[in-house]
Point group: C2
Amino acid sequence: MGKVSTGFSMSLDGFVAGPNEDFQHLFAWMMGGDTDYTIKIGDREQTLKLSAASIEMYDEAINTAGALVAGRRLYELTHGWGGHHPITAPVVVVTHRPAPEWVQEEWPVTFVTDGIESAIEQAQKIAGNKKVVIASTTIVQQCLNAGLLDEIHIDLVPVLLGEGVRLFEHLKVAPVQLDGPHVSIGKGVTHLTYSVKK
Amino acid sequence: MGKVSTGFSMSLDGFVAGPNEDFQHLFAWMMGGDTDYTIKIGDREQTLKLSAASIEMYDEAINTAGALVAGRRLYELTHGWGGHHPITAPVVVVTHRPAPEWVQEEWPVTFVTDGIESAIEQAQKIAGNKKVVIASTTIVQQCLNAGLLDEIHIDLVPVLLGEGVRLFEHLKVAPVQLDGPHVSIGKGVTHLTYSVKK
C-alpha cells in the first residue's frame, strides 16, 4: 500500500497561508528559478520558473502521487481545481454533504462522508502503490492525530509572515518523532522530506 | 560593527521549548553524534556528542560571538550560566531592575535598564567586530520588530512538539524577507542560517 504523504510551502515561522489567504511570498519560489515548467490546473496551463532541484522535486511529486485528499473548504475554494489538480491525481474530498452541483461527471473525484479513516482507505485503493497526498491542513492534522501520516514534505520559504494559517496545530499525540529530512536546495526554497516514525 | 544574530534549536512546528520548559527532544541532536565535544557552563564541563557538521557550526558560533543578550527571565532561570555561558562571551541582560544579589563581581555581565536599543548598542560595543547573539525569544521578537536583527540561525529538529514556546510570535513588521539559508546537515538536526533582508 502506498504511503500517506503531504506537501506544503511553509514560511520559517510555520504558516502555509498568509493573512487573507495570501500566497504571494509562499509561492514566490515557483517563479524564481531559471527553467520553464508548465503545469495544468483544470483546462488552464500555467508556466512556472523553477530551479533544477525544484523541478526534480515537482517531477517526483507528480510521478508518485496516486490520489489527493482534500477537505471540502479547499475543494470549493479552488473550484475542484477545474477537474484537474496540478499533481494530476484523482481527488478524494472529505465532507459531510453531497457533491456541489458544479462538479462535472467526468471529473475524477470521490466524495467521502463517513470520516477520515474511510477517506484515506478509499484514497489508498485509488492510489494503488502510489502515494496518497493530503492537500488540506485540517486533514493533515486529523491524519497525524490518527497515526495515518507517513511522510511530511515541506518547501521551507525564507520569510516570516507573522500571521495566517499554520500547518501544525491541534496536535494531540505530541511529540511526533520524525526521520530525516532528505534535503534539496532550490532557489528561494529548501525542500525537506521527513518520514513519520511509527 | 558586528552583526546581531540569534540561534535556536527549533522543532519543525516552530517550538524552541517544549511544554514545561522541556528540552529533551530539541537538544537530542547534541548527544546524537559520534565525536565528543566539551563545553563549559559556569565551572561545570559538559561533554556533548556531535556530528562533524554540528561541530563546525558550534565552533563557528563560539569563535564569532562577542556578546550575548538575554532577558531577565532566562538569565535567572539559568542562574546567569554560573558566570560562564557555553558560547564564552560576556552577557548583557535586558531588565527593569537591579542585578540579582547572587551575581558575582568577576562575572562578565552588564545589566541594561533603558531598553532594547540601548542593550544592543552596549552589546555591540562589548562585541567589537564580533557578533551580538540574542539568547531570549522575547528579545529576538523585539529586535525583529525594531529592525535590529541581521541573522537567524535555526537548528531544525525532526520532531513535532505540539505545544511550548514559539520563537516567532508577536511579529509587527511582517512580512520579514530573509536571504539564504546556508544549509548544513548534522545528525538529527538541519542547521539553517538566514540573513534578514534590510
